[in-house]
Point group: C2
Chain length 259, copies 2
Amino acid sequence: MRKWEDPSRHQKLIAGAALNTPLYKEVKRLLTETISGGEWKPGSAIPAEWKLAERFDVAVGTVRKAVDELVGENILIRQQGRGTFVAAHNRARLMFHFFHIVRNDGSKLTPEVVMLSFGNGVADAEEAAHLGIKAGAKVFHIRNVLRLADEPIIFDTIVIPQALFPKLTASKVVNRPNTIYHLYQTAFGITVVRSAERLRARLADAESADILGIKVKSPLLEIRRVALTFNDAPVEFRRSLINTEHYEYFSDLAKTGGG
Amino acid sequence: MRKWEDPSRHQKLIAGAALNTPLYKEVKRLLTETISGGEWKPGSAIPAEWKLAERFDVAVGTVRKAVDELVGENILIRQQGRGTFVAAHNRARLMFHFFHIVRNDGSKLTPEVVMLSFGNGVADAEEAAHLGIKAGAKVFHIRNVLRLADEPIIFDTIVIPQALFPKLTASKVVNRPNTIYHLYQTAFGITVVRSAERLRARLADAESADILGIKVKSPLLEIRRVALTFNDAPVEFRRSLINTEHYEYFSDLAKTGGG
DNA sequence: AAGTGGTCTAGACCACCAT
DNA sequence: TGGTGGTCTAGACCACTTA
């Protein structure tokens, strides 16, 4: 009997998943687990598709469909002729997927990050809700100012649970050789895969006006971002205040799906 | 000779397309042309996949890959057991893909649209640039206030080229039975398929403060949206001013690709 | 030349919908 | 019961990278 003639192997592979789960969804889940479990490191290649097909005892086409979705979610990266790689955080990736500020003329600049403070603290109600932890749980608060073209444009407050980032110190943050998401990934094994953002307009208070070098009551764009890892588990809550006099936030939706 | 043994038929189908264009991209282009050309109307089913495969002389899998991308771009809608349909504009579609305002608690309300004015005019430099027309070209200006929970929250100014919407009148806009994008689609054959948005914070001037029932110099979120049809051709430029005291703009990126 | 992903084909069977 | 999309398989060949 050839394998596609055996109706039970599908259920065997699934082993506890919901009934009627497509095989490729199950393969996708196994791939995701293998990545988040650390068997394949960020930046390295995963096995060739035919090897994965053999390992999971499915057809190559089924593996391809699973990989297709993970590529669409920016978790894997395909390179024709080279292989398929686990996405690693670097400046280019951060700028492309997580930095949505452009100058009025549409050009995109890389910000210079200056840390203002690093502190131990506890989560307030809002922070706790966004991070899926209890109010009062220990967190780190990191405040940065982001400079574009030598002007302070963005005032960031980052909140992360101490439980996820044990023994993080200010010096580790300041002396990181790469982006902070790269630090999360390499030092704590936490990969940020997507984010959800909420935006509103507000007036600058005394502190943010001082930091951004503008007048009190100037208009500011406020972004609240929750950064998520696999299975939509929250990792970081970030509040950004942006002086949009010469910069804008852009949201190009769709365009993800096709070519 | 079986058809997959004939290496020339691929180039035959492409007929002038760039070299090495994948077949499914060509099929996608033909599907898009057939839709925008009006052979298949919004809301109606397109032929079954095996019929399309026969019509284009390709395998069903190739048709599926082309349709996959158009589904990802919200141009086609698949319904298992029923068929594949050309996406039609309606309230649900508008709310899901083009209305990104939620209440602070995350709930989404349907706005009540009240038209303030409808006028002939000419495009200024900014409007012309966004619409891909010449400054001074004739446009319609439509101003609306959008009410949520009986409060005026959004002040919209819509700019559309008269060349694309000949003989549009205020009464057609006011008496439309459905959304304005549905009107574009049914009365002018123009289907909005996606949009690109830029956001910033600004202070309310006298007019917007009056319309939104807030104080002058209150903070407002400004959205500039360009709505696009097939091949990214611009259709509408819209400037929205939003009172974000109790409402927010949300941007959930990714999540498009996978499930 | 060897290895990888990208495309294309062909056909089986399943799940769902309308009738 | 017939028709549709959804899944899965199997295998061919192409395009690209690396050595």
